[in-house]
Symmetry: C2
Subunit: 231 residues, 2 copies
Amino acid sequence: MAITAEALPEVTATIADRIFDQLRQAIVEGEIPPGSKISEPVLAARFGISRGPLREAMRRLESSSLVERKPNVGARVITLTSEQLLEIYVIREALEGMAARLAAEHMSDAAIADLKRLLAQHRNDVAQEEWQAYFQKEGDLDFHFRIVQGSGNRRLANILCNDLYHLARMYRCQFGMKSDRARDALKEHELVVDAIAERDGELAEWLMRRHIRASRKATERRLAAMRPSDT
Amino acid sequence: MAITAEALPEVTATIADRIFDQLRQAIVEGEIPPGSKISEPVLAARFGISRGPLREAMRRLESSSLVERKPNVGARVITLTSEQLLEIYVIREALEGMAARLAAEHMSDAAIADLKRLLAQHRNDVAQEEWQAYFQKEGDLDFHFRIVQGSGNRRLANILCNDLYHLARMYRCQFGMKSDRARDALKEHELVVDAIAERDGELAEWLMRRHIRASRKATERRLAAMRPSDT
DNA sequence: GTCAATATTATTGTCGACAATTTTGGTTTC
DNA sequence: GAAACCAAAATTGTCGACAATAATATTGAC
């Protein structure tokens, strides 16, 4: 599933755009490991292109905060720290809470019915234990993705889908993330959808925020367990 | 006042970065009017540079959603619609509400004292009617800026300061924006700061959200008054 | 006279090469 | 032996030129 806010424009015309997509995927999935220096000549050679389009793609990656760049020195893939990951959760709590509120107001009945079907599918998956952690989490993103789309606020959707979700996915690829929270998360998803179906925006926001907060706390616990020597 | 999240790096080394700043300012302040096509050759000539750095700057402007770009066609300065402006208010309500909550938890006593001094200054300005609407609004942005910085969440601050605040400022330059809400807004600011001073994060968030919602409603009324034939 | 097809022009996209800065390696000196 | 200084190599930043695509103007046919 491609996570983009706009309708995906089939074949992207320009090389820079295509390279941007490929590089983003490579970075998010860890193929280009965090902290590694990005050499323009070798990357250009690897993709068989010139440095011009590559630099334009890098500028976009920089704006997405997937690479850090120092003038006259070069670019490195970012290394997500625990603090930065938790910062993202806080922002998602604010934005997706608002998105749930808006979705309750704007989402069409048909879209809500679709969403319910998706949750039924997830419920089935969880019941049958057919959820490798990875796929479960992708399903989780799928749920959040639909709520955000349902908000009807395109800029809100862009912020989440173009940047934050990629960063979240990058973190999940970096650490193993076999969530033992699947059952709880699913229950929380159902509550959110119920509130949306009843057009109760205030409740939907409250439930979504609590859901993301719970995910953040679970992540905090996991981080604390991984590195007990850290601050 | 330069609105940037990072500590401004004095003289930006590379041309592309400098051009990005200049172009952003020119677009935000309306020097390059909304909807106008951006021709790479003429702009490059105007700045006395080559097209390479210019294109890199354009890619960053695209990421900031200040220009829209179609492959093989070119880039145009965006034209903020009423709907887009209101979308921004909604996002600010979510993000700055969260920022106020975090500020109540993280801001230092010294920073809060500074903030109170700033509000006292504003109060004085308003009492003396020394507030051309424009300056008042800049003061407004200054207030919001400090809260966001006080949140301690760097990514949150980046989203607001690097993108949303520029868009808000662009709109204000586009339409005259002589706010008659200065007195009310100031009162609302004071309530937010009081809540922060008392370390009441929940209340601070609630007050900040109500404040931004009130600003949005005022803008909605102004928009409705300007174009009564619109939907 | 109007519409359509075609040729021309202009603009964007891409490339290779040069200049400037940084990093690295070596040499010298204390 | 270590530190500092200098030189060489590599990398980034910038530029001008070519290729490909889209917009425009022209010409022809009906």
